[in-house]
């Protein structure tokens, strides 16, 4: 089954018991409400246009998928509640193999409550594996647009291909999401989002580079409260191409730092918030992350803690390990001796063990780690990346050496980079154990350029095969024989969303022969 083992994907008894008190009812009903629940929810008028933040699906399994919407007739209402009345509202959903819904495979109800900013995450089970489905929501007499999603192939099933894209770093204020306009037209079984879905910074004259956009004063301050985080997600989701891509394919999402605060790690802030206080920021940030994305209930935070590392199996073809490189990492090194301390961890011990066991013991042809920050060795001072955790990286590489066709997917750096992962980065002649495909940003950094001041740091290494500093995404197609990665770029994003897309580099990684074979 997929997602597999830890953590559980479904709304089970253990998850239910972890939740307590008033919130458990709201959370449970946001996932699966019975007819009695729906009947017991008081009615009342709901404003028009409740689907203003779009619809989405995510965290698919072989016979399941999570659907998502967040009711918001006024997405930018300053209190973060999207213009909804502060009472529960029933949301009906339908899933069909047919875009015109002539046959309904599953239908149900979830209760949108103000506790979750009127977000619902219905878990649809009992679907056929490896199949395309369509879904829609209904609130009162209003029907949402139709979304497309896809379940994963059955466990162990022979799978001829799997197409997916990676994206990251969507600073809405730096430009238009032109990349998503093109990505929605690609062949897609899934989208992996690798972090920085929002940014916490105040938005004003100095960083609002998106031509034609303006923001109200409440967006001007760095966000801290739950209402501010909710509002920030809503602002970014006003982009029509983002909404369209969510409605095109299921997303598997992880976070990086900006979903909370720049360069944070565990309870540590770089900006003077004490370790005693920082969990309060994490609690609201993690809460808003869950509320605004198509995530399994297993990722629902419990106070300041949340389990977002999880696993998806694509038949016998691939295993995707979605990682959390923020919540459990050790503090930045205080000096070189500390940096090279064997005990330092990027993932925390529990997640490390879960990852290594899941990689080395995997029956899949391809074994992927979807991760926030660069694994490849670049420079010693890039301590926010795995360069700051060299002993942990060595353990990861060691685990990869006993793993079938390891692949790392990365975001964070706002550049396309393709790199071969070496058994010993200090020795270019050492074996290549896997590949790292780093996707550039969707918008962060504005238009960008093919090269920039950071280029020499990266291309000095013989194992780095590509560097491109323009905006875009990576599209991949996996078969039992090879992984083809295409690094797609758009030449501008600040002026408008009209830029064309093109492939700046294309690589083939043969199964059983890790490396990047460039093709054009």
């Amino acid at each position: 089954m997929a997602p597999t083992d830890t953590p559980p994907p479904t709304f089970d008894r253990r998850t239910f018991l972890r939740l307590s008190g008033v919130s458990s009812a709201a959370l449970a009903l946001g996932v699966a409400a019975s007819d009695a629940d729906a009947a017991a929810t008081p009615g009342g008028p709901v404003p028009d246009g409740v689907f203003g933040l779009g619809i989405a699906s995510g965290d698919p399994g072989p016979g399941s998928v999570v659907l998502w919407t967040r009711l918001a007739p006024e997405p930018l209402a300053a209190d973060g509640h999207g213009g909804m009345p502060l009472r529960p509202v029933p949301v009906r959903w339908e899933v069909s193999p047919d875009e015109r819904f002539r046959v309904v495979a599953r239908r149900g109800t979830a209760i949108a409550s103000p506790e979750l900013a009127h977000a619902v995450h219905p878990l649809v089970e009992g679907l056929e594996p490896g199949r395309e489905y369509f879904y829609r929501f209904r609130v009162g007499r209003e029907v949402s647009p139709v979304g497309r999603t896809k379940t994963l192939p059955a466990a162990g099933a022979s799978t001829s291909s799997f197409s997916f894209a990676t994206a990251s770093c969507q600073a809405w204020y730096h430009g238009h999401f032109s990349a998503y306009r093109h990505l929605a037209n690609e062949e897609l079984d899934a989208v992996f989002f690798l972090g920085d879905y929002i940014y916490e910074y105040g938005i004003g004259e100095s960083n609002l580079w998106r031509a034609g956009a303006s923001v109200a004063p409440e967006h001007g301050a760095e966000i801290e409260t739950l209402e501010q985080f909710r509002l920030r997600y809503a602002l970014f989701k006003t982009d029509p191409h983002l909404q369209a891509l969510h409605a095109t394919a299921p997303w598997m999402v992880t976070w990086d730092d900006h979903e909370v605060q720049n360069n944070y790690g565990a309870d540590g802030s770089r900006y003077g918030i004490s370790t005693e206080h920082f969990p309060h920021l994490r609690a609201v940030a993690y809460r808003a992350f869950y509320e605004n994305l198509p995530l399994s209930l297993s990722t629902m935070p419990d106070g300041p803690d949340s389990t977002v590392f999880r696993r998806f199996d694509v038949g016998s073809l691939a295993r995707f390990n979605v990682l959390d490189t923020r919540q459990f990492r050790d503090a930045p090194p205080v000096d070189r001796e500390d940096q090279y301390d064997e005990r330092r961890s990027m993932l925390g011990r529990q997640q490390e063990r879960w990852l290594y066991e899941g990689m080395s013991g995997s029956p899949a042809t391809w074994n992927v780690a979807a991760n926030g920050v660069t694994v490849s060795a670049i420079t010693e001072d890039r301590t926010d990346q795995w360069d700051g955790y060299p002993a942990a990286r060595a353990r990861l590489i060691e685990a990869m050496r006993t793993t079938s066709n390891p692949v790392v997917l990365t975001g964070d750096i706002h550049r396309h980079v393709a790199s071969e992962l070496k058994a010993d980065f200090a020795d270019p002649d050492s074996p290549t154990v896997g590949v790292e495909l780093i996707c550039t940003s969707v918008a962060s950094g504005g238009d960008g350029a093919p090269t920039d001041g950071y280029t020499p740091d990266w291309v000095q290494h013989p194992y780095v095969k590509l560097y491109d500093g323009r905006r875009g995404y990576v599209h991949c197609r996996m078969t039992p024989d090879e992984l083809t990665s295409r690094f797609r770029i758009v030449p501008w994003i600040e002026a408008d969303a009209d830029a064309p897309v093109r492939t700046t580099a294309r690589f083939v990684t043969p199964a059983g022969a890790p490396g990047l074979e460039g093709q054009e």
């Binding site: 979750l116 900013a117 900006y271 003077g272 206080h277 309060h280 609690a283 609201v284 809460r287």
Partner: protein
């Protein structure tokens, strides 16, 4: 069957306050994690026995069980506060019990200026290179700052940032800032130093050696800031992320001489501090 309980959250308890220079610090006990808090709303009124919980008195919203009421200036000011818990559903608690706190009076108010650079106003904008010109520091101040009170202009003569040896952009070396000022005669009483910062580096603000006329007085330890004052100069803007801090301390009278005096801040530890203003103040005559 039960659907969703919209019972109000509990109010914050244990509200405590401490009066500081130019500000008041408040702390309270957070509600348990079972309640998902959207924010705590802090209400405040000056020179009153209580505060009405209404939009007009809303001072700040914070997710932390902690708030700093900044920018109160050098005068001692008395404020009363209450806190309301707002949960994820938008439901509000009843207000906490009120607390009254008075900020400390600064020597910039009680004393008489002897030599002052900048204004003690929460802003560093009147200083050289402010608000974001740190990249020009090394070419503008290759030997640090040497400021002659009464002759030099803060807008060109006193850098808004005082780097430390941890700052690569300033050569990873120590930096001395000197303030020269004349005295007609040596002071009869001790004087006071006021050193106000609009911000400092968050994790390594470091310290500086304070000297007067070549004699080491003390090592000044700086509070961690928000690492934002290198790029913005006004901590009084609503929602400003800057974290001001203040140093005020006595300087013994026998350190000073008639004629020119030199006060030196030698940053030999840590990263930068961002100035609001710095000055020396004479104490008011003691009343019999």
């Amino acid at each position: 069957m039960s659907t969703i309980d919209t019972a109000p959250p509990r109010p914050a308890t244990g509200l405590q306050g401490t009066g500081e220079l130019a500000g008041i610090v408040l702390d309270w006990t957070p509600v348990p994690w079972e309640t998902v808090v959207d924010h705590y709303a802090l209400y405040a009124a000056e020179d009153a026995d209580d505060v009405a919980v209404e939009d007009a008195t809303l001072l700040a919203k914070t997710v932390y069980p902690h708030a700093q009421h900044r920018g109160l200036g050098g005068t001692a000011r008395r404020w009363v506060y209450r806190v309301v818990t707002v949960d994820a559903a938008g439901t509000r608690s009843r207000p906490s019990k009120p607390i009254t706190v008075t900020s400390q009076e600064s020597v910039t108010v009680s004393g008489t200026p002897v030599a002052v650079v900048g204004e003690f106003d929460g802003k560093g904008l009147e200083l050289a290179l402010s608000p974001d010109g740190y990249a020009r520091y090394t070419q503008t101040f290759p030997d640090g700052v040497d400021f002659r009170h009464g002759a030099d202009d803060p807008a060109t003569g006193w850098s808004y940032l005082h780097p430390g040896p941890a700052d690569g952009w300033a050569g990873r070396r120590e930096h001395r800032f000197r303030l020269r000022f004349p005295l007609d005669e040596a002071p009869a009483d001790d004087v006071d130093l006021a050193l106000w910062l609009i911000d400092s580096h968050a994790s390594i603000p470091g310290s500086a050696v304070l000297k007067v006329n070549g004699t080491t007085v003390d090592r000044l330890e700086f509070a961690g800031g928000a690492t934002k004052g290198s790029l913005q100069g006004d901590s009084t803007v609503p929602g400003s992320p800057l974290r001001p801090s203040y140093v005020e301390r006595a300087l013994p009278a026998d350190l000073f001489v008639p004629g020119e005096n030199v006060l030196e801040l030698h940053k030999d530890d840590g990263s930068w501090i961002a100035y609001d203003a710095v000055g020396v103040f004479a104490r008011p005559p003691a009343h019999e």
